[in-house]
């Protein structure tokens, strides 16, 4: 590898100048999205609710289809009713303020209870036998399990929503701050390999592509980019977590679930 003979000592002294000032932008407010979704200001509430629904409905849908075995059409119908009757009419998110548990669990529990009630109502109305015909569920033990079991499909889809949002925001921030080198290095070393299973792009190539003085400088940029991504990920989770401790435990819990799922 033909490496430029850079003055490492001088580079060490100058390093601070190239550091991205991401740390200063660490969010100071938590629970912001959930709080806005529960407040009285109609416009702010509507916007916050929309964000929550757009971001996390795929996870709720995955829970119904993959976790509970509902047909996609039936899952969509149920979700639509859940949103209309519980989230909008009954102001479910405002109730999350009083709940001591995690928002992710809160939402899943609410959906499970809604589903059970729907199941019972429909069964009573149609006088259907307890065979799961109404909701398209064939396993009779399903009802008993529903309340207790969080589904991996739900957690995986939830994590996917968070990562999607963090990646989207990081890219936007890199564009706005004119630091596409950060995005480029992150994409070539972290995101691309995670998406495509490919080898990370060599630092030599990155140095040439983005005009860095040396491959080592490219690796320093990657450290900065990873910090920026970590901050953004925490920011996204922080919109529904109450404290920095809860943010860390939520990320850790999701990571463990993902790592152990197949």
């Amino acid at each position: 590898m033909d490496r430029p003979k850079t003055n490492v000592g001088k580079q060490l002294a100058m390093m601070s100048a190239d550091r991205y000032s991401g740390e200063r932008r660490f969010p100071t407010t938590r629970w912001s999205l959930v709080a806005r979704a529960g407040q009285n200001d109609t416009e702010a509430r509507r916007e916050a609710l929309e964000q929550i629904l757009v971001r996390y409905l795929p996870a709720l849908r995955a829970h119904l289809t993959c976790g509970k075995g509902l047909a996609p059409d039936r899952a969509d119908d149920l979700l639509q009713e859940f949103v209309a009757r519980k989230i909008l009419d009954k102001d479910l998110i405002a109730g999350a303020e009083q709940d001591l548990g995690k928002f992710r669990t809160f939402l899943l529990t609410a959906l499970n209870r809604f589903m059970i009630n729907q199941f019972r109502d429909e069964r009573a109305k149609k006088r259907a036998p307890c065979d799961g015909v109404v909701l398209g569920v064939s396993d009779p033990t399903w009802l008993a399990q529903t309340e207790a079991s969080p589904s991996v499909a739900f957690d995986v889809a939830w994590a996917r929503s968070i990562v999607t949002e963090a990646v989207r925001r990081m890219r936007a921030e890199c564009q706005e701050s004119n630091r596409m080198d950060l995005w480029g290095v992150f994409e070539c070393r972290v995101l691309g390999p995670a998406l495509e299973g490919s080898d990370p792009v060599d630092y030599e190539q990155l140095a040439r592509r983005f005009g860095f003085q040396s491959p080592t400088q490219a690796s320093n940029v990657l450290v900065t980019a990873k910090r920026m991504y970590a901050r953004t990920l925490r920011l996204v989770v922080g919109e529904y977590a109450r404290s920095s401790g809860e943010i860390e435990s939520e990320i850790g819990e999701l990571r463990e679930i993902l790592a152990s799922s197949r």
């Binding site: 590898m1 490496r3 003979k5 850079t6 003055n7 490492v8 000592g9 001088k10 580079q11 060490l12 002294a13 390093m15 550091r19 995986v156 994590a159 996917r160 968070i162 990562v163 999607t164 990646v167 989207r168 890219r171 564009q175 596409m180 995005w183 994409e187 972290v190 995101l191 995670a194 998406l195 299973g197 080898d199 990370p200 060599d202 630092y203 491959p215 080592t216 400088q217 690796s219 320093n220 990657l222 450290v223 900065t224 990873k226 910090r227 970590a230 990920l233 925490r234 990320i251 999701l254 990571r255 463990e256 993902l258 790592a259 799922s261 197949r262």
Partner: protein, 177 residues
């Protein structure tokens, strides 16, 4: 500049788990092949150039020390494998490596700085019979164990570290070597 949006919907749960791993040290900044090349580069880098951040006076001192008896010391490799390396230059190397290690965004990958750090300590022990570190034997053995496990280490540095290991092993408990 507009960049293409990346769709993470196809990402596997394991890849998502890695994307939720916020520890910078995990996720391997450098691959073994790259570390081998960087170590080779660092060992061939002029010592004078890397110590210039210490100021002009120190640079002059480094120049003077580099012309000791025996082969001339031009690079870190020359210094570490010199039959009689100046102890002061080894101390400067150790300090330089330590400064690099302290900075997660420093100019050398942590692994390289760590090897340079222990190699300077070991060179002082084996070639000068002096200790330039307050590390006890057990900690030094532990560190050398780690270094010797690195597949990207070049053979010459590996042999130097092995010599250091043997010297520490035969020196007995906490005696000066």
């Amino acid at each position: 500049m507009i960049v293409e949006e990346r769709d993470v919907s196809s990402m596997s749960p394991q890849s998502l788990a890695r994307m939720m791993d916020l520890d910078e040290r995990i996720g391997e900044l450098w691959r073994p092949g790259e570390l081998a090349a960087i170590l080779e580069h660092q060992l061939s880098a002029p010592v004078e150039l890397d110590f210039s951040y210490l100021g002009e006076e120190a640079s002059q001192r480094v120049r003077a020390l580099s012309s000791v008896r025996g082969p001339q010391i031009r690079s870190f490799g020359d210094l570490l494998h010199h039959p009689h390396p100046p102890i002061e230059l080894l101390e400067l190397t150790k300090q330089f490596a330590k400064d690099c290690r302290k900075r997660p965004d420093g100019p050398l990958p942590g692994e390289i700085a760590t090897v340079l750090y222990y190699a300077s300590i070991v060179a002082a022990i084996t070639k000068c019979g002096r200790r330039i570190s307050k590390l006890d034997h057990q900690s030094l053995r532990y560190a050398l164990d780690w270094a010797l496990e690195q597949a990207w280490l070049d053979e010459k540095t590996r042999e130097l570290l092995r010599e250091g290991y043997r010297a520490v092993d035969t020196a007995g408990p906490e005696t000066d070597v």
